[in-house]
């Protein structure tokens, strides 16, 4: 076992454990904090894949900004374990069954994909994830989708400002 495999298993266990704790935690603030742990673990995976830019942007955007806003809202609303409405048993069952079905579909899809069979992940090699190569690819090969998504962001921002206005 190389150091990369050890790190991989550690991060995987951390990510899965964190994800389960997000669901199991009674207190919404704890859930958010576990979700941040999951993001850290996933960023660790990105670093193992040598996608440093993706790793750090994942941390800045998700762990650094979006999760802070989540915490913000939860703290302001002062949600507690007691104030959360109890769900019916049949709703929980329905959730488990539909989630399980979705998992089965995903797993079977991945197992059947021709492109993925017999391939191992490129660990610590391949440099498309480095910022220079990624930037070149985004601004030459994929420039139209990139600009289109930026227009989408702009319109979302304008929309947020319009909704946020009082009158």
């Amino acid at each position: 076992m190389s150091i990369i495999q050890i790190l991989f298993s550690f991060l995987t266990v951390l990510a899965l454990f964190g994800a389960i704790m997000v669901l199991v935690s009674k207190n919404p603030v704890h859930s958010v904090l576990w979700l941040i742990t999951v993001f850290f673990a996933i960023s660790g995976h990105y670093i193992l894949l040598n996608a440093q830019f993706l790793a750090i942007v994942n941390l800045i955007v998700y762990a650094g900004a979006i999760m802070v806003l989540f915490l913000f809202v939860i703290m302001l609303m002062n949600l507690n374990a007691e104030s959360e409405p109890r769900k019916h048993l049949w709703m929980k069952f329905a959730g488990v069954i539909s989630g399980g079905c979705f998992l089965m579909v995903l797993v079977s899809l991945i197992r059947q994909t021709v492109e993925l069979t017999g391939k191992t992940v490129l660990m610590k090699e391949g440099n498309i994830g480095l910022i220079k190569n990624l930037g070149k690819a985004l601004f030459s090969d994929y420039v139209v989708p990139f600009e289109l998504s930026s227009v989408l962001f702009l319109s979302a921002m304008v929309g947020a400002v319009v909704i946020g206005k009082k009158d």
Partner: protein, 349 residues
């Protein structure tokens, strides 16, 4: 044994480097607290702490001992695990920045070339940005876990302030990146050291001013210390904390100050570059030591400016703070970015 096949000597070397840098930053932070009180005293025309040791130099140790000896109180209604996690997180986030700062060039010891930087990753600036954005968790978690309305208010203030000023900070950084063309702090410093090139402050005066203001806000320093506004919030987000947990919060603020001074020195003031001196002519070890001293001098000057501002300028009102952040600094930073881009294009012809 092939279980862990990698360069053990490199590992030991890095561990020693990490230990030195962490303890050095803690030591400097210790004396920054002392310097803060002395600077305040000078600005207010009074002697300041002068009882413990010569010129009061042992005062920070006395303060530290006092904090450690105090009784540890965890409120009954507090969320205990998070209450303890908060100060730890604040401290960790503050110390994490030091790993990408190039403290000096390299030294040669025992036939090995040792870089005085823990990790020269090619996303250095983004890493700093990421750590800064995590720094707010220490405040938020501590404030929420205390289960005190004032703490919570302060934590929310701190979080919204940090998020608002991160934007302008990032935008002012982009202009620096456009000039240097690299995200690695070492490359940025080396580019400023090249013969014939000026420090980045010469190309980015506006960017530096914006970055400096945002650094003040991110470190919760006056005039942006609203999370600690005593007259409105009693004591701020660390109201329920006592003993060394409170010490960690206060200490992490000073470490944040040191780290942001170091980052500013590296980005805008040539890092470990000594002006009007060609370091390449010196022996590498001497150049490294002189470079380290140069960087430390720049850091000390910045810290003094931080303190000078704190004891001169009163605190903003909260709406003024948001106004400056969103309506003044962000448009200014955008303008700076466009201007830099246009000038670079014009120079390329």
């Amino acid at each position: 044994m092939t279980l862990l096949a990698f360069d053990w000597i490199l590992m030991v070397e890095k561990l020693i480097l990490i230990a030195i840098i962490v303890f050095a930053s803690l030591g400097i932070a210790l004396y920054t607290t002392f310097a803060e009180r002395k600077v305040a005293a000078i600005l207010q025309d009074r002697p300041g702490p002068n009882r413990a040791g010569p010129f009061g130099l042992l005062q920070p140790f006395a303060d530290g001992l006092k904090l450690i000896m105090k009784e540890e109180i965890i409120p009954n209604s507090a969320s205990k695990a998070l209450f303890i996690l908060g100060p730890g997180l604040a401290m960790t986030a503050a110390l994490m920045t030091c790993s990408v700062i190039p403290w000096s060039s390299h030294v040669e010891l025992f036939d090995r070339k040792i870089d005085l930087q823990i990790a020269d990753i090619n996303i250095g600036i983004l890493y700093i940005f990421g750590v800064v954005s995590l720094g707010v968790y220490g405040i938020m978690i501590g404030g929420w876990a205390s289960n005190n309305k004032f703490s919570l208010m302060a934590a929310l203030r701190g979080a919204s302030q940090a998020i608002s000023y991160e934007l302008a900070m990032g935008l002012s950084l982009i202009a620096v990146l456009m000039i240097s063309g690299s995200l690695s702090l070492k490359t940025i410093v080396e580019e400023q050291m090249d013969a014939g090139s000026l420090w980045n402050i010469a190309y980015q005066p506006l960017g530096f001013v914006i970055f400096f203001i945002c650094a003040l806000a991110e470190c919760n320093r006056t005039p942006f210390d609203l999370p600690e506004a005593e007259n409105e919030l009693n004591f701020g987000y660390h109201q329920e904390y006592s003993s060394m947990k409170l010490g960690f919060y206060l200490f992490s603020e000073y470490i944040n100050m040191i780290m942001s001074s170091a980052v500013m020195a590296c980005l805008f003031f040539g890092g470990y570059d000594i002006p009007f001196l060609n370091e390449a002519k010196l022996a590498p070890n001497i150049a490294a030591i002189l470079g380290l001293l140069a960087l430390l001098t720049k850091i000390v000057i910045f810290i003094f400016v931080f303190m000078w501002i704190r004891w001169t300028i009163p605190r903003f009102r909260y709406d003024q703070l948001m106004n400056v952040g969103w309506k003044k600094l962000i448009p200014l930073a955008l303008f700076n970015m466009l201007l830099t881009g246009a000038l670079i294009l014009w120079k390329q012809g």
